[in-house]
Amino acid sequence: MLKTISIRLFTSLLVILGSLVLVFVIVYLLPGDPVLSMVDPSTVTPEVLASLRAQLGVDRPLYEQFGSYVSKALQGDFGKSIVNDEPVLPKIITHLPATLALTAASCFIAAVVGIWLGVLSAIHRDRWIDITARVVGLFGISMPTFWSGILLILIFSITLDWFPAMGSEGWKTLVLPAVGLGIVGAGFVVRLVRNSMLEVINEPFIVTLRAKGVAEKLVMYRHALRNALIPALTMIGVLSGELLAGTVVIETVFSRQGIGRVISDALMAKDLPVVQGVVFFSAIMYVIINLIVDLSYRIIDPRVRRSQ
């Protein structure tokens, strides 16, 4: 047990280091001068350009830039924002709670609605409830969040006036963005759970249970669902990363002060250190969430526990 966890921890660390390299590569190895993409050269003097280059360190050789970037990042220093000289890490940390709350809430909606509809859909295959669930699933994966967010604002803020259209204070502001983002996740989960339930229902052990006269509800919820949950759990792990990234768009729609908003503002201002910092940070969170998912298999599936 301890050995597996430590191996997983080690590979996760490797992956995080790798993503640090990647974030560096994306910004510095792409063609073009990062400084020129940040400011318009016709509006500033060459001295300003030179000082920006020095501040970013892009005037030094590449290996030196990379070395200092990694060593600083490992010490928690992701540089300073070009726009207002604010250090990147504290900026991320202040805005993190709003985003985490949103990601968690939308993940929760995705999991509950997705699993519930997916199971009902598989049990009542080809009836109206199945068709509804499949339509929900398809719409969920096909609607852009910026559009569903706008529709939610139109209906629940402007017309009905139930929830505020913007802001990040209090639980009321969380509802609409979480639903908007949750629909996407639910779409993926519904389709996956339905499919894996249908597969499990065809397994011989389900036939055996039915032959033994076990109540259908028990067969479905205790036996079939438990087996169908494993792929769903993996999916939710992957989704959490996507939902975290989805906050970039949805926080812009709902004007929430989260890291999604930080990155989209940074993108507008070409504030590359902030962009790098947020991308790297979200990679770390993604790795951590998937580590947790991996380890939770052993709770859900005794076979995993025994095989190690």
Binding site: V21, L22, G32, R125, P144, E216, A245, A283
Partner: protein, 297 residues
């Protein structure tokens, strides 16, 4: 006791029956949906190819007396704050939205498939290194990856395509590698090798033809994702700045007028949703057709 639909009939509950019977029962509804999806896609492609024939007005024509009119028979989708006909702008905007989706799927798919194929076919240390790299790439969600690339390279149509394409590469590489490895292990490959076929011949004549079909399914579904990510980039202002905006930009422009003119951002969003929904429906159908066992996920 709650019975399933299957259990209610007098038919024997064999596996073969269970899989075939509901399939014929739902065939009509799902086929109808796929046809409808086909029509939507054809219509949007026609919009992109010959917008002049479909749009009733010019997308740049500003009529100052017709500012922000609600949807009506003369203006299906209403008019915007410049007095432009929203339907016409949406018709013209289909070109860039579709182009971004298609081009990035083709570029990303080819690049990803080549990497996956090479990695899976060669195996060994090369495979381990490439897949380690892909694993790292997978930790950065598609839209963030695309955002970072688009931001670093600056807004242009080509950069948006490249950003969306690169963000899709790891997924394609992973799937195609798995497929290549599973085909590589099948007996007919050993047979080909034993009669003296070389690596290149085995790869192009035997492995590739047997491995590409899941890639086709993935590319169809990936088209939907690419359109979504592409329009997301435009929505965030990283897209192409043009006189005729694409759907994402259009939607973002209409956002400020939500309380007074809901139609300005609702209809471009509906266009994106209909296109992606149709593409996904067709992808589902294709998946069922190619691999009935692994139907929708």
């Amino acid at each position: 006791m709650k019975e399933t639909a299957v259990a209610k009939t007098a038919w024997p509950r064999t596996r073969a029956w269970r899989q075939s019977a509901p399939r014929t029962a739902k065939l009509n509804v799902s086929n109808l949906l796929v046809y409808a999806a086909g029509f939507v896609v054809i219509f949007i492609v026609l919009c992109a190819l010959m917008p002049g024939q479909i749009a009733p007005y010019s997308p740049t024509e500003m009529v100052m007396t017709d500012i922000m009119l609600p949807p009506s028979l003369t203006h299906f989708f209403g008019t915007d704050y410049y007095g432009r006909d929203v339907f016409s702008v949406v018709v013209y905007g289909s070109r860039d939205s579709l182009l971004i989706g298609l081009a990035s799927v083709i570029i990303g798919g080819l690049l990803g498939a080549s990497i996956g194929a090479l990695s899976g076919f060669l195996g060994g240390i090369f495979d381990t290194i490439i897949m380690g790299f892909i694993e790292v790439l997978m930790t950065i969600p598609g839209i963030l990856f695309a955002l970072a690339i688009a931001a670093a390279m600056g807004p242009s149509l080509f950069n948006v395509v490249l950003a969306v394409a690169l963000s899709a590469v790891p997924g394609y590489a992973r799937v195609f590698r798995g497929q290549i490895i599973s085909v590589k292990g099948r007996p007919f490959i050993t047979a080909a090798r034993s009669v003296g076929a070389g690596n290149l011949r085995i790869f192009f004549r035997h492995v590739l033809p047997n491995a590409w079909s899941p890639l086709l399914v993935m590319a169809t579904i990936g088209l939907g994702t690419s359109i979504l990510i592409g329009s997301g980039l435009s929505f965030l202002g990283l897209g192409v700045i043009k006189e005729i905006p694409d759907w994402g930009t259009l939607l973002s422009q209409g956002r400020g007028y939500l309380t007074v003119a809901w139609w300005m951002s609702t209809f471009p969003g509906l266009a994106i949703t209909m296109l992606v929904l149709s593409v996904n429906l067709m992808g589902d159908k294709l998946r069922d057709h190619i691999d009935p066992k692994k139907s929708r996920f």
